[in-house]
Assembly symmetry: C2
Amino acid sequence: MAAPIQYFELPNFTFEDGTTLPVAKLAYLDINPSGSKVALIPTCFRGKLHATLTFATGALRDYRIIVVALFGNGESSSPSNHEGATPFPKLLDYRDCVRAQHELLTKNLGVQTIDLMAGFSMAGQCTYYWAATHPDMVRNAVMICSSARTSKHNRQFLEGPRAALENSVDYAGGDGGAAAATMGKHEAPRGVHAFAKAYSAWLTSADWFEQELWRDLGYASYEEWDTDSTGPRYAGWYPNDLLAKLRMWQRGDVTVCDPSAAPSSSSDSTAVADTLSKIKARVLLMPSRTDQYFRWEASERELKYLQRGTLVVIPSVWGHLAGSGISPTDVAWMDQQIHKFIQEA
Amino acid sequence: MAAPIQYFELPNFTFEDGTTLPVAKLAYLDINPSGSKVALIPTCFRGKLHATLTFATGALRDYRIIVVALFGNGESSSPSNHEGATPFPKLLDYRDCVRAQHELLTKNLGVQTIDLMAGFSMAGQCTYYWAATHPDMVRNAVMICSSARTSKHNRQFLEGPRAALENSVDYAGGDGGAAAATMGKHEAPRGVHAFAKAYSAWLTSADWFEQELWRDLGYASYEEWDTDSTGPRYAGWYPNDLLAKLRMWQRGDVTVCDPSAAPSSSSDSTAVADTLSKIKARVLLMPSRTDQYFRWEASERELKYLQRGTLVVIPSVWGHLAGSGISPTDVAWMDQQIHKFIQEA
C-alpha cells in the first residue's frame, strides 16, 4: 500500500525573495518509518510524490525514506494551491526548499542525520544545496542526471517551453499575462500543450528516437506517443506551477549556498570549485550518457572538486529520462550502483 | 558588388499538394555568370539569398554560382509575398523546389549540367532530392549539416517552435489561427519570439554555451545574445513563411523521389538505402561534430548506401551553425574540404 501524503505546516515562512507566507506547507511521504537509516528524496521538475523513484524495494529497502515535494509541484505550497491575501512568492529558490525540509526533518520527524539523500534532475540540484548548506548532516548524496549549477545551454533550452507558455493565446490572452500570473489555478491547455511540445525532444535522446523506444512505453507509433506525451500526460499541471519550478531550475547555482565562495559568474568555475570542495558528504554522481542538457561532461568536471566523489555514467539511450524511473533497465542499473555506493561507505 | 536578385516566373505551376498558381516565382542570384562550371546553391531554413554561404571567393571561385531561394523564404513564392485569388499551397515539398529550379536552369539559364550542388541544412535536403531525381544532371553534391530523411528527433524538436508560434496570443488570437494562416503577411511578434526561444538552444551546442562563444559574435553577455537572437534577428520573417518552410523540413524524405524504392516508413531504412544507392553524383557529406539534430551519425549511416560518397565531420563546437557560415574557422575548413573534393574528381 502506498504511503499516504502527509503535510507539514511552517508558520510565517519567509522565502528568499522576501515574501512571508502565514503558512507554508510541505507535502511528503514517510516510507518505512521504522527503518534504521534515513533517506531523503525530493521530487523532480514534473514530479509528484507517488511517482517518485525511491529505490524502496532495492538499495534503500532498510531505510526510512522521506519523499518530499519541492515547492511549486502542486502538492507542497504552489501557485495552484495558494490561498489568502499574500501573493505567492514571485521566485522560488532551492534554499527555500532546503530550509523547509530541514524544519520538517528536525522539528517534525526527529531526524538529525540524513544517511543518504538522492535526487533526480531538479531534486539532484536540491541535494547539492543540502550538502553545501548542511555539510555535517548529509552523509551520502546521490545526484542523478543533475548539476551543481544550471548550465547556460540548459537555461536556454528552458526558455523555449517558458516562452511558448507565457506567450500562448490562453495564458497571455486578453491582458498580456499580467492577470494569469496572479491566478494560481489559471489553466491554459493550449499554452501547456505548446510548453510540452517545446520540451519533448529534449527529454530523451536522438538515439531514443532512432530506436523508436516509444514502443517500450506501449505506444504503437510516434504520433501516438507525441499526442499523449504533449497532451494527457500534462493533466493536473498548472501553468503557474510549471513556471515557478522552471524559474527555480534556471537559477540553480549551488554557489549561492556558500557566502565565502568566489563571486559567481558564468565564466568562472572558481566559485563552483570553492563550494563543492567544502561538501563533506560522500557523493555519487550518476549522469546519463545521452542526457541532452544535464550532460555527463558537466558531472565529470564537478567530480574534480568533490572531496569524496564517485562518477558512474548510466549507459542508456533514454537521455535525461534514464534517471526518472521510466526505464526498468536503467532503474535496475542505478539501484545496483547505489547499493554498491552504500556498501563501500 | 553583390549580385542583384533576379526573378524567374513559372506560369501555371502546380505544387505537389495539388495547388496550381497562375505564376510561381523563383528568386535567385547569378554570380560570376561567365564561369566555366556551374554550381547550384539553395537557401537554408532561415536563409535569404544574400546571406547564403557560397564559397565564391574560395573553392568555387571559377564557378558560375546560381544561388536560389527555396519556396517559402520570402524571396521566392511564399505566403508573405503571395497575391491573387488562389490560396498559397498548404504544403510545400522539396520536389516543388527542385522542379522549379530545374526549369530555371534549363529553360532560362541554359544550364544542362550541374557540376556541383551544395546545400546547408534544408538546402542539403534539397540537394539530396536533386541528386535522386536528376542522377545524370548532378555531377557532384555537397550536403552540409543535413540528412536524406528528417529524423524523428529532428521533427520533434521542430514541433516546439511550431507549437509556440501556432498557439501564440498574436498568431492564434481571436479565431484560433484560422484567419492568421490565410493571411500571408500576418505578423505575430510575440509568436515569432516564442518560436525563436524554442529554437535557440538547438542551433549551436552545449559546448558552444559552455565556451560562451556568443562573445565571438560580438555579444558582451549571454543576455545580450539571447535578446538579439530571439528578437531583432528575426526581423523580416513572417510567421506563415517560417511555418511553410518548417513543414517542408519536417516532411523531408528523399525516398519520395524514388517510386520504386521500398515503402518508406520510419522504422525501415531499406527505402533510404534503395534511393541513395541510385544516386550517381559524387557526394561529400559534411556534418558537424556537435550538431544536435542533423547528427553526424546519421550522415555516417547514409554514407554506406552511396555509390561514391565521402564523409568528413566538421570539427566544430558551433553545432548546426557550423555549416551556416557564421564561424570563419569553420568556413575556411569547409572551403578546404570542398576544394579537395573538387580536385579529387
